[in-house]
Amino acid sequence: MPIVAAVLALLPWVAPSQALSVNILLYGLFATGFNLLFGYTGLLSFGHAAFFGAGAYGAGIALAHYGVGWFGAIFIGVGVAGMLALLIGAVSIRSRGIYFSMVTLALAQLVYYAAFQATDWTGGENGLRGLTVSVLSLGPISLNFLDPTTKYYVLFAFVMFALWLLSRMLNAPFGAAMEAVRENESRARACGFDVRLIKLIAFVVSGLVCGLAGSLNALHLSIVPIDTLYYQTSGLAVMMALLGGAGTFLGPFIGAAIFLLIEDIFSLWTPHWQLFVGIIFMLAVLFMPRGVWGTLAGWYRERRA
């Protein structure tokens, strides 16, 4: 946790562009939410776009259609994502093992199609517009959200708060229970853990975190594109978490940085940068399954031991 805080606090000063550092921050949080389920609980979801998108649309609709303040909008976004995670989680954890990835993907696509149809609320394929926030006021404080540095550190504060809560959960007995489910589900059940409940709680918390990432992203972009809910977005979280190191706290942020850097660099000379992302991801699955940070941490631990 302190490492993550330090790295992210310094990020705007080392990243090549302001936009990149905000993206690393927000997509890193998104991948962290996914990682909670995949890396810590052992459930590979391919539907986390639904929660990222629910957060974005929840906050966006509150801002654009109902004139809710920015702070309240974030809460609404997170709440909507949490409710959706409760619903999707309750259905998908009924499916066991290999089905889980398929079911989460299918249910997320359902959310995508639903948002696509509900044009009055979501703007359909044009995306949701009209939610520009330029000044953040909360009580006596008023901040200029258009200033990139201010923007970064406001978002940073939210991300840090979420990460702090998460680190409490992971270090608490519940975090140990999640690991038990990941390591050996049948033994966890035999020991007396209510595995289904643990999975559902992990799923909902994961959805809440992704929802926060989505809400903040909506504020950041001032628009919610329909692609936010698409399969590709779910894949983004999967790739980032795995590249950086699933099951590690810093990994998803490292992964987000790697992914976004690849995108930045390769897209300079080819519009087909995704080809390289796909190949690099396959290489990582084959040769570096613990991801960059997971591998480094493994080396460090072995050298000490």
């Binding site: 590979l44 391919f46 066991r96 290999i98 089905y99 199609y113 894949g235 995704q274 796909g278 190949i279």
Partner: protein, 292 residues
């Protein structure tokens, strides 16, 4: 709503279902033997359509394309299994799944590089361009009847292979318990290779058959991958019969829903899946222990 319209729509549903069935059977063959979910299945479907177009423009014959495409893509599938998937056996089901996801990601982009990002038209073959006047039932495109008939033919061939040949015996035994194969002294690696090849070949065939009915573009695999998953979850993973029945059911439900509530058509299948998951989590024909 008139009865003949409903019946025509029902046939459309069956044709759509035929594509789902081929996809789902391909997924099930791979899962049944290798125990992995192929996330690149939609990409192989899309490649099937493009390879079909390629062969078609080269030879000018739909029938040669129909024969060659599954073989070409199936052979490509063999290489994928041998080079990319095989090193991952023994690392649990998640890593092959992640790898095939990455493969699909790269393949979609590769097709964009070669064929461009825009959709490509795929004309219905001349011989099947017409339609049948079904009297009171209305007018029905011949191509769809052909798709249904051809799928039935493929399923029959598959059924004969599985029920009547030595390879089929191995597949059935392996699907029940992979350990049996090594006890019997069968080269498991070769069976896996072949199963992956057949599965990807079936996906390519589905893509080619669907091409004249649905649009051909690099993203066409995503929607069908999800549809195939829905069908497989409903039918039960690893069950060919389940896949066939669920495929038809989903095709019909989607078609009939689009008659009454067009905007709900794509969503109806998810409702069906959710219902099945709540009532019978292992799928209609799935065995309880396979999903563990």
């Amino acid at each position: 709503m008139e009865l003949d319209l409903i019946l025509a729509q029902l046939f459309t549903g069956v044709a759509l279902g035929a594509v789902f069935v081929l996809m789902s059977v391909g997924l099930s063959v791979i899962f049944g033997m290798l125990g992995i979910v192929n996330f690149a299945h939609g990409a192989f479907y899309m490649i099937g359509a493009y390879v079909g177009i390629f062969v078609l423009t080269l030879t000018g014959s739909f029938w040669i394309a129909l024969a060659l495409t599954p073989i070409l893509v199936g052979v490509f599938g063999l290489f994928v299994e041998r080079i990319l998937v095989r090193p991952l056996y023994g690392r649990g089901p998640d890593y092959p799944l992640l790898l095939t996801f990455g493969l699909a990601y790269a393949l979609v982009e590769l097709v964009r590089v070669v064929f461009g990002s825009d959709g490509v038209p795929f004309d219905t073959p001349e011989l099947l361009a017409g339609g049948f006047d079904l009297g009171d039932l209305g007018y029905y495109p011949a191509y769809r009847l052909f798709v249904i008939a051809f799928t039935v033919l493929i399923l029959l061939v598959l059924w004969v292979v599985i029920e009547r040949t030595r390879f089929g015996l191995i597949v059935r035994a392996g699907a029940r318990d992979p350990r049996i194969l090594s006890v019997l002294g069968i080269d498991v690696a070769r069976v896996w290779l072949l199963a992956f090849g057949i599965g990807t070949g079936l996906a390519a065939l589905a893509g080619l058959l669907a091409a004249p009915m649905r649009s051909v573009n690099p993203e066409m695999g995503v929607a069908v991958l999800v549809e195939a998953f829905v069908v497989t979850v409903i039918g039960g993973m690893g069950s060919l019969l389940g896949g066939a029945i669920a495929g038809m059911a989903v095709g019909i439900v989607v078609s009939l829903t689009s008659l009454w509530m067009p905007q709900m058509a794509t969503m109806s299948m998810f409702a069906l899946m959710t219902l099945v998951l709540i009532i019978r989590p292992q799928g209609l024909f799935g065995r309880d222990d396979l999903a563990r």
